[in-house]
Amino acid sequence: MKLSRVLYAQHIGFMFKKHWVIQGKRVPIDSGVEQYLKEKGINVEDALEFVKEKPELRERLDIVGPYERPLPLDQNHPNYKEKPCYTLSNTSVLLEGICQAQVLTKTVIAEDKLPPRIEELAALSAPKAIHDGVKKAILSANVFDCQQKKLPKKKDLERPAYNFPRILGISDRRRNEVLTNRLLQLVEKSSDTDVTCNKYILNDVDCTTLFDKEEELIQFQDISNILVTSNKPLKHEIDNEDIPFIGIPDLYPIKHTISLPAQHFYDESSKYPIRSNISVKYPHTTWLHYNPTEVNNLYEEPVTPIQVLGRSLTHAFTIASAFAKQLYGEETKDLPEPVYVNCIQTDGQRFHFGIFELNTLNVEGTEGPKNVWYCKNDLKLYDSSRYLSGIPVLENYNPQIYGYINAFYNC
């Protein structure tokens, strides 16, 4: 068969189809009639749309099913409140950190200054057995625990596309829990019975405080990982005259409610975790864990140290103000006696100690009685604790930290 016979053959139908496809697309010329009529106010309708049948309107049937359908969380929900409440939770962090926390809670800061009694108690050296116990606690939290969870992925900035083998190990929540509980247990063992019998230790308690600042409701919802309570209120004697306080900063052009998302569903009262008829309700010390995998920013950038410090201030304020409201009522402003709360924040390695003195619940403006935050920040307990060529190793243990923890418990 000759190839040319096949090639020269034409199919008139294919040619028709190709012409129709191309020449069938016509753009109508705009004569301007529609625009002219619209300007005169005459309604112009497309003929093909006019001829189409209108869809039948059917009424919505509410079918009774096996359970009540949950209502969508919008304005029509019964619990919806008109006034938004700016909420700070345990896992979120303030944008400006401690500066914003100062403005929100009307606090002045005494940097690196703790009451003299605490410093005295901390300077007492503990016997070697206790420090051995602390080292064992650190190793058991970091190295000897058997939890295996997927840890965050390791990334190399030089080779962004390389996926490292996934590491399984102890999660930061578990490590902090084990470490802090073991440390507290050591402190309790080495203290006298008249101190320990008066104290209760609670793990993972919720605390909420709701307050008004400049016509806006603000709520702090926090979880205290360890709350040490006692049967008499905590008192500190501090001489306020010589201390150079860091005053309340001006955050212009940022407002104090930035990075606090507004919620329309909230409880109208503060909540303190212990009932008022229990004798050991007075808050003594609160331990706050900083878990890098759980606490993050709105904008998903790494949390800065200033933001971490701000977290401990707001936490101490939450506990103190919730307790003050339970004692003196929801609407009190200036307290007859200051409420003191000790606060220790840790991420396993770094410890931030602080004492919050709550003088007033009236956080409007910057004048009048202010709350005080005495702090000692960024004390490292150890440099590293891990397996080094198969051997569990603890580098550069710092014995000062135990002194402060003991002082905080015994004051």
Binding site: V21, I22, R26, D30, P160, P253, T257, I258, Y299
Partner: protein, 297 residues
């Protein structure tokens, strides 16, 4: 436009109109027995690299993205060759509209942090004002803690503007470097986004400002259009070579093939007369929708 014309003398030509000629273009492939496929072509801002899942309200949280690898989401066919793979970056939603008060002192905003964005060459700045956080394109010397101003006020005397401030084009003196220029007042900055680029304000003509773009083309803008002063960040981006074929793959570019002669044919340098100043405004007349006639009654 790019419609195949088989026998053009058989067709009644459409009247040439003053309608803007830049519309989306498509190509049709017709074989004898295969169905007619109409695929869009990449260009005019649409690059078929990724789809961003935008929520209803503006948020600072990085948004999820699906990579398209050069495919058209409607037809699923490959539309742009050479795109695919690469590291997936979350999209930071940038607030393109820099609104300010029309009278009175300019609004002040604080720069909180400069962040590198994987979806663009310039860096972005996280900015806080009042209650709100937003992202904007960072300029060359911007750092955390800077205060930047925005104002829509058109004064009689030009404003002495600092880097990062946003003013209307009519308020800026000639010779200022600007970027993120709006097309129509209130639309959001559309022009000049790449790293290290900037436009220059050359002269004012009646009520329009003539700006030279980074490609040396002259555009004329309305004097009420907002523009941000300064050069964009990451100035060395244009000077750093990609370095390795693997890094090109990380950027999402698949290997290309093709015989390429530097000075031949379409790749050679052309000497042409400069184009006239183009007036930038939104088109007002749009062509009526095309009617497709077919054989089926």
């Amino acid at each position: 436009m790019a419609l195949n014309r088989l026998f053009s003398n058989l067709i009644i030509s459409t009247t040439t109109s003053t309608i803007c000629k830049r519309t989306l273009h498509a190509s049709a492939i017709s074989y004898a027995s295969k169905p007619n496929i109409v695929k869009p072509k990449p260009g005019f801002g649409k690059s078929y690299r990724r789809i961003v899942h935008f929520p209803e309200e503006y948020t600072v949280k990085p948004l999820n993205v699906t990579n398209l690898a050069g495919r058209d989401p409607v037809s699923g066919r490959v539309v742009a060759k050479g795109i695919g793979g690469g590291i997936k970056h979350k999209y930071h939603w940038i607030a393109w509209v820099r609104d300010g008060p029309t009278e009175g002192p300019p609004q002040e905003e604080k720069v909180i942090q400069i962040i590198e964005d994987g979806c663009r060459t310039a860096h972005i700045a996280l900015v806080g004002v009042g209650d709100k956080l937003k992202y904007i394109l960072a300029t060359e010397n911007m750092k955390a803690g800077d205060i930047i101003k925005t104002s829509r006020h058109l004064p009689r005397i030009p404003v002495r503007a600092n880097e990062g401030d946003a003013f209307v084009l009519g308020a800026l003196p000639t010779g200022t470097l600007v970027h993120c220029i709006e097309k129509e007042p209130g639309q959001g900055g559309l022009y000049v986004h790449a790293a290290g680029t900037s436009g220059t304000i050359l002269r004012k003509q009646n009520d329009r400002i003539i700006v030279q773009m980074p490609s040396k083309r002259l555009f004329s803008f309305d004097q009420h259009c907002m523009a941000v002063v300064g050069r964009l960040s990451n100035v060395d981006h244009g000077d750093t070579p990609i370095g390795s074929p693997q890094r090109n793959r990380w950027l999402g570019n698949r290997p290309r093939s093709g015989l390429w002669h530097r000075k031949d044919g379409r790749h050679g340098r052309k000497i042409r007369p400069p184009k006239p100043v183009k007036e930038i405004k939104n088109p007002k007349n749009f062509p009526l929708p095309t009617i497709q006639l077919n054989m089926v009654p």
